[in-house]
């Protein structure tokens, strides 16, 4: 088999799985599960092959002539693999979780079909080799996610879905406008080469950057474009995990990385102030997200605002630039995903097992569900930046990078954000572990047995929390996300300075 076929196969596996699942009758539970897990495992295996290939120096690229002079390109590079590996691993775990979470629910074939399409779109975004391909999959992701957001079909879910569409579709249009404007100046933009920019940034180039940043900022939930994210938390827990950790928000952040490094280049952006704008936006987002999270009583809402804050660390790393901070931003793409998906899994377990949705009802919940709250604790401490959980590594690199390029004020922002994170996460932990349970706060749906809830709800968060812990504890080892992020940063052209 030609190596050029591998990138399209990575997109095709979930795509075909999704299309097949749509046609699985609702009651054929086993077949649907087999398709789901088979596809997820196959994709993970493919990612492992690609990882070894890239380490060995192989290149994978596939091009399809789509319009005259406009190719669709799928290419595997180090950055693409960072995102692809994360989304593949988390897809597998989320699928396991979703199978148990939706047990006995309705429209499961529809759900898992769109779920797989989402992952296909994410794979496409990761592997996109030029702006046009990126845009195509970016739009596909919007369309595939919307049915998941409104899956429950309640009035609230449909309202949230409408808000989601309003934001993301207009974001897509703006992104399209930006791409058209830029390519009218530079011609088709390939990520491997970068845009053929004029030496002096003219208004068209600047406006194109603003448009593209706004279009990507919608999915990355940059303030003031973040309004859809806290509303979308009405979706079922696996969808929240998908939105916050695997696909949607990450697609925006990933797009910003591509925009900064593979379209414009940090030096060019710095010359016309683009990096400063990105830095201002991400700092505002970090502070605003943390501040709003403080006052939320709904657990998933608080987690959603926490995502608003945390995803901006990635953009912040790009904006600060410099070799160290970029590593911090890149590695946070993985670390935030691992920690946030753990938190949403745990929140889902509480909702599913005890019908606990509000933080004010979580008193003593650690005694009833120690494993769930244990992984929640790992995730929460990681978000605050407590070592040795992975979030600490991101924060360390961002802080050291900010000092290295003489932006000490960014260190102040990180410190403030850590304190705010502590202020909204630690009270949850305190309630769960240090307060006695109050009668009548929960409706326990747990089955009598040894485990606190269904094992398929328990295993995925245990794995993600363990991975987040290991990613921090063994950050110096050669197989850690950190060392891969360092490889990516070198490939992005920072290795020499």
């Amino acid at each position: 088999m030609s190596p050029a076929l591998l990138p399209p196969i990575a997109v095709a596996i979930p795509l075909i799985a999704g299309l097949l699942i749509f046609h699985v009758p609702e009651e054929r539970h086993g077949l649907r599960t087999a398709l789901n897990l088979g596809a997820a495992l196959a994709k993970l295996a493919l990612v492992v092959v690609l990882l070894f290939g890239v380490v060995g120096g192989a290149t994978y690229e596939a091009a399809l002539n789509w319009l005259p002079g406009r190719d669709l390109i799928l290419r595997v590079d180090a950055l693409a693999l960072l995102f692809l590996a994360l989304s593949s691993l988390l897809w597998l775990l989320t699928t396991v979780y979703a199978i148990a979470y939706l047990e006995g629910g309705s429209h499961r074939s529809r759900f898992f079909g769109f779920f797989s399409l989402c992952v296909a779109a994410t794979a496409g975004i990761a592997l996109a080799g030029n702006l046009l391909t990126f845009l195509l999959f970016y739009e596909l992701l919007t369309l595939a996610t919307w049915p998941l957001v409104i899956h429950r079909g309640t009035a609230e879910a449909r309202r949230a879905g409408a808000v989601y569409l309003r934001y993301t579709l207009s974001g897509g249009v703006v992104l399209l406008a930006g791409i058209v404007l830029l390519e009218s100046v530079t011609g088709p933009v390939d990520f491997a080469i970068g845009a053929a920019l004029p030496a002096q940034a003219g208004p068209a180039v600047v406006i194109a950057f603003a448009l593209m940043l706004a279009g990507l900022g919608v999915k990355a939930a940059l303030v003031p474009l973040h309004g859809w994210l806290p509303r979308a938390m009405v979706a079922p827990a696996p969808v929240s995990a998908l939105l916050h950790a695997v696909a949607v928000v990450k697609a925006g952040a990933f797009g910003i990385i591509r925009l900064v490094h593979d379209v414009y280049g940090p030096a060019y952006l710095a010359a016309f102030g683009g990096l400063n704008v990105l830095m201002g936006l991400s700092v505002a987002t970090i502070l605003w997200g943390s501040w709003r999270a403080l006052s939320q009583d709904d657990l998933k809402r608080r987690l959603a605002y926490s995502t608003v804050c945390q995803v901006s660390y990635i953009a912040l790393g790009m904006a600060v630039a410099g070799p160290v901070a970029v590593v911090g931003g890149l590695v946070h793409l993985v670390h935030q995903g691992l920690m946030k998906i753990t938190l949403f899994f745990a929140a889902g377990n509480l909702a599913e097992t005890l019908e606990v949705h509000r933080i004010s009802r979580m008193d003593g919940v650690g005694q009833r569900m120690p494993l769930t709250m244990g992984v929640f604790t790992v995730g929460a401490l990681g978000m605050i930046g407590v070592p040795p959980v992975a979030g600490f590594v991101s924060k360390w690199y961002l802080g050291a990078g900010a000092i290295a390029v003489e932006h000490p004020e960014i260190l102040g922002i990180l410190v403030l954000s850590s304190l705010l994170n502590a202020a909204y996460f630690l009270p949850i932990l305190h309630r769960a572990w240090f307060r006695p349970p109050r009668a009548g706060e929960w409706r326990d749906h747990g089955r009598p047995g040894r485990l606190e809830t269904h094992w398929m709800l328990l295993l995925p968060p245990l794995i993600t929390a363990g991975t987040a812990l290991a990613a921090g504890l063994f950050a110096g080892s050669e197989v850690s996300p950190l060392s891969w992020a360092q490889r990516v940063a070198e490939a992005l052209g920072h290795g020499h300075d």
Binding site: Y167, I207, G227, F272, V386, P387, G399, V415, L473, E478
Partner: protein, 549 residues
Amino acid sequence: MAMIETLIFVLIPALPLVWGLLALWPPARRLVAAGGALPAFPALVAAALLPAGATASSPWLLLGTEWVLEPGLRALLAASALVWAMAGLHARGYLAGQPGRWRFDVFFHLAMAGNLGLLVAADPAAFYTLFALMSLASYGLVVHTGTEAARRAGRIYLIMALIGEVALLAGLLGVATGQPAFWPALALGLAIKAGVIPLHVWLPLAHPVAPVPASAVLSAAMIKAGLVGWLRFPPPAGEAEFWGMVLVSLGAVGALAAAGVGLTQRRPKEVLAYSSVSQMGVMVAALGAAWTQPGLAVPLQAAVIAYAVHHALTKGTLFLVVGWLDRGGGMVARAVLVVSALVMAGLPVTGGAAAKALLKEPLARLPEGAGLAAALLTVSALATTTLMVRLWVVARPRRERATGPAPRSVAVATMAVALAMLVVPLVWGPLAGGMAASVGKGLLETTAPLLLAVVLGAWLFRLRGEAPWGPAVPPGDLLALSPQWRFRVGARGPQAGRASRARRWISQAAAMVSGGLRRTEARMAAWGGLGLALGVVLLLLTAVAVTGR
């Protein structure tokens, strides 16, 4: 060989960590509780067997961990490990049969991992990790009893500890990137842990509310982490003199003021906590003096470490014996209390006298202020002695309390630390040297302050509950000055409504701004938000592009 050294270094934090986490698993809890002393042994082994200055590195761990057994800190490592081990043994009897025992074990061993590990962690990231582990795990020890006082102390502790953590992070990032400008943040983070006035307010609240074995390690071992941090990451060369003066001033004030406040305390553990603040003040001031006088830095730092070793063993004994008395200790326990209090007060031929003599010698060679330093040391010794009399007054076993046979592990653990307290100064080089110096000075000169203080304290003897003068200062002293915290500190009842007008105005303004922003967010969400956002981005870009030209 290198492999074995690395293994020992890694085990110093790893074994207590695993041991603590093991207590989460119910079938293992009995084993964990029974072997509470065991995980401190890698640290003891390292202190005993590894050559001075041994180094090792574990590049796979965290951000590439470097280990070092600094020659100066070897004794502190040994003393800390001994106190930890014996506190673990003490807990076996002290907490026997109490609810939530396993939770105590988890936090106790996590804190042990952090404390013992940071003594040998050389790189900033590992030091920070272990420091954070120790600080956060200690929260569980502080709130263990679950009383209202414990929760209040825990809240204040956690706020201070978190501020310390982030300051330490900023400071250590400065160290890691070679930027000396961030050193003040590092100093702040360490000063909170070391109980430097006025950042000590959490300490007299938090140390006493924990169960006795935890108080012992908090006050004897963990409090030294700040000192160790300063020794490992000294101030940048150009500013050493300034920061030295800061530490000297704060340390001297702390040494005297804390002893004064301690005299008014009514419970033994609060007296001991203030004694710790006071003693740390002496050490911090001496360290500051070392920074201001590079010529005297070597003997002064060695004296500070020797003082820290003496304090760890003595304060450990004092706390443990208070717990022994709690659990029905008899004559032997009372004898241990008297002896350890006398050691703390600086009785000749004990560690207290030796440590003070060690400090005095280089301080006497200060080019200026030598007299002042000597006077301060004498006054502080006097204050400590009086404080120890106060301790005896409040710690005497009440007649109505049932005395029964104390759990054996409590007695054994206390006696072991007490033995080390007496023997170590005789055999361990630096303190033995100090001992020789103190003995050589003649009996009258060394015992005069002691006698004076005993006489001074004698009339306090009859005042059991009340302070010798005026009302008792509530623990956490300075916190009681703020109306917002007074209620929480629990002094005189709530006076919450009396916040100043300025503060009310600020909070109203903050609420208005926050509310306005929230409404904007909601409106934008309804509309889609994009146009406005795009406008903002464009505006910013245009502004930057225009001004950039």
